[in-house]
């Protein structure tokens, strides 16, 4: 198994700030916008972006939630293992809100499809956008594209993109791993 660094900590930091600025350009003071991190690993990116928006760009009262899509996935009973659920935490109304889904890697698009179904259980949003740190081009199974992307990469199917976060994996980095 070999691995190659796609992004180092400095590059991740630059990208996070750029994404935060892009969000401010579109959503201004976030008065009608909510951020939703997709479980499990989109949550780290969502937390980090929220922190940058609040601390570096002084945006106040950002509403941040976590959405688990386990029960909405289309591969239940297809894999070897039972799908393990994560916590959903959405303590605000999504009715008529602008939602930004946040996930670390966009690959087939199936997780986002599940998230689009799952969020309907909480109400009818006005608009949903997608932000992703890594966009794996040429691997989509569904017509889903990000509105905000950190880095677009070309990865073949037997390679994996692994995003590490300082608070969970001791470093900010993105690796391309050959399986």
């Amino acid at each position: 198994m070999s691995q190659k660094v796609l992004l180092n900590a400095k590059e991740v930091n630059i990208i996070l700030h750029r994404l935060a600025c892009q969000l401010i350009e579109k959503h201004n003071n976030f008065s009608n916008t909510v951020l939703i991190g997709l479980q499990p690993r989109g949550v780290f990116l969502a937390n980090r972006l929220t922190k940058i928006l609040e601390e570096d760009y002084k945006v106040k009262n950002i509403q941040l939630g976590y959405l688990d899509i386990t029960f909405y996935r289309d591969d239940f009973r297809r894999g070897e293992k039972t799908l393990e659920a994560n916590t959903t935490k959405i303590n605000f109304l999504v009715e008529d809100k602008n939602i930004v889904f946040i996930d670390d890697v966009l690959y087939t698009g199936r997780s986002i499809r599940a998230a689009l179904t799952a969020i309907q259980s909480f109400g009818r949003p006005n608009e949903i956008e997608l932000l992703t740190l890594i966009d794996r081009r040429f691997s989509r199974h569904l017509p889903i594209q990000p509105d905000y992307r950190g880095r677009q990469v070309d990865v073949i199917n037997n390679e994996k993109v692994k995003v590490n976060w300082k608070e969970h994996d001791n470093e900010d980095s993105v690796y391309l791993i050959e399986k």
Partner: protein, 309 residues
């Protein structure tokens, strides 16, 4: 661990501690789901479940049906009163006929102990025991433990007394197994005639004085007197039973601590507990009912994930 060690839920006796932990963790997620504006998830949309009730039931049947529907399973219902069972059809024939309609899972209540185990050996479907005679009622025991965990933080180390008709109760047996597996201490309390002869062999304390039992415990699980299962008189009169083993507000208030009151339902108000106890702050009877749906969703979800396509 993310998988049950069993393919059927026939009784608590067949589960291990990790299984119970997994069911509780999954139920936590479903509890969140059933408090959403839209309480349904699409996980089981390709699964068909048959609810076979060979014995009367209200809340268990409704609870299972609701759990199945909230997981988006297709559900068919059967009750023996309006069926060919009355014409002499055997259990295996009845179930095999239903299974030939491409049913994946069977939830069964049956008056005979061991009916679920028997069926699991002869038919090709996942079986959930919804009560078999006086043997086990595993989902009730799971939701009871889950409710104790929710109210008191943990089941381990807690003292639970099961009061009443232990002899005819499947709830008591499943509860004893479930509570002991999770490290709780269990006592049974009731008239001697309603305590099984070898009950102490299960490692439970036995008490015939309700006041002493309540003074000992953190939780009292009050069982219904199952008159329909009684072929002889086990106590002189209902009035005398209530005087000796019923719990009223006065008795509760006279204890030097606040205990939690549970009841698997249906309640005979004024017999095993009075109305002011059933509706008091200490009672978690309605929480038990609500948790029942989440627990049954978890059990069905985890068993369904083991049915291969």
């Amino acid at each position: 661990m993310s998988e049950l060690s069993v393919n059927h839920l026939l009784g608590i006796k067949y589960l291990n501690k990790q299984d119970i932990q997994l069911i509780f963790e999954t139920a936590d997620h479903f509890k969140e789901v059933i408090n959403r504006p839209i309480k349904k998830v699409p996980s089981l949309r390709d699964i068909t479940i048959a609810n076979l009730f060979f014995e009367n039931s209200t809340r268990t049947k409704l609870s299972f049906e609701l759990a199945e529907k909230r997981l988006s399973a297709d559900v068919i219902n059967f009750s023996s009163a309006q069926s060919s069972v009355k014409k002499g059809e055997t259990l295996i024939d009845t179930v095999n006929n239903i299974l030939s309609m491409k049913v994946d899972m069977v939830v069964m209540r049956h008056p005979n102990p061991g009916a679920g185990v028997f069926l699991s050996k002869h038919v090709n479907a996942s079986i959930v025991n919804a009560g078999d005679g006086a043997h086990e009622h595993p989902t009730q025991a799971l939701l009871d433990s889950y409710s104790i965990r929710e109210k008191l933080g943990d089941v381990k180390g807690k003292k639970v007394v099961i009061v009443g008709d232990i002899l005819h109760s499947r709830v008591a047996l499943s509860n004893i197994f479930a509570l002991q597996l999770q490290g709780a201490q269990v006592m049974v309390c009731g008239p001697k005639t309603l305590l099984p002869k070898y009950i102490d062999k299960l490692g439970v304390k036995v008490e015939t004085n309700i006041r002493k039992a309540l003074n000992w415990c953190d939780v009292a699980n009050m069982l219904r007197v199952q008159n329909e299962r009684m072929d002889i008189s086990y106590f002189p009169s209902t009035r005398e039973y209530t005087q000796q083993f019923g719990v009223n507000k006065e008795l509760l208030d006279s204890l030097d601590k606040e205990i939690t009151i549970m009841h698997p339902g249906p309640i005979n108000r004024g017999v095993e507990i009075t109305s002011d106890v059933a509706d008091s702050k200490q009672s978690i009877i309605l929480d038990q009912v609500q948790n029942g749906v989440a627990i049954r969703m978890a059990v069905i979800y985890l068993l369904a994930s083991k049915i291969k396509q």
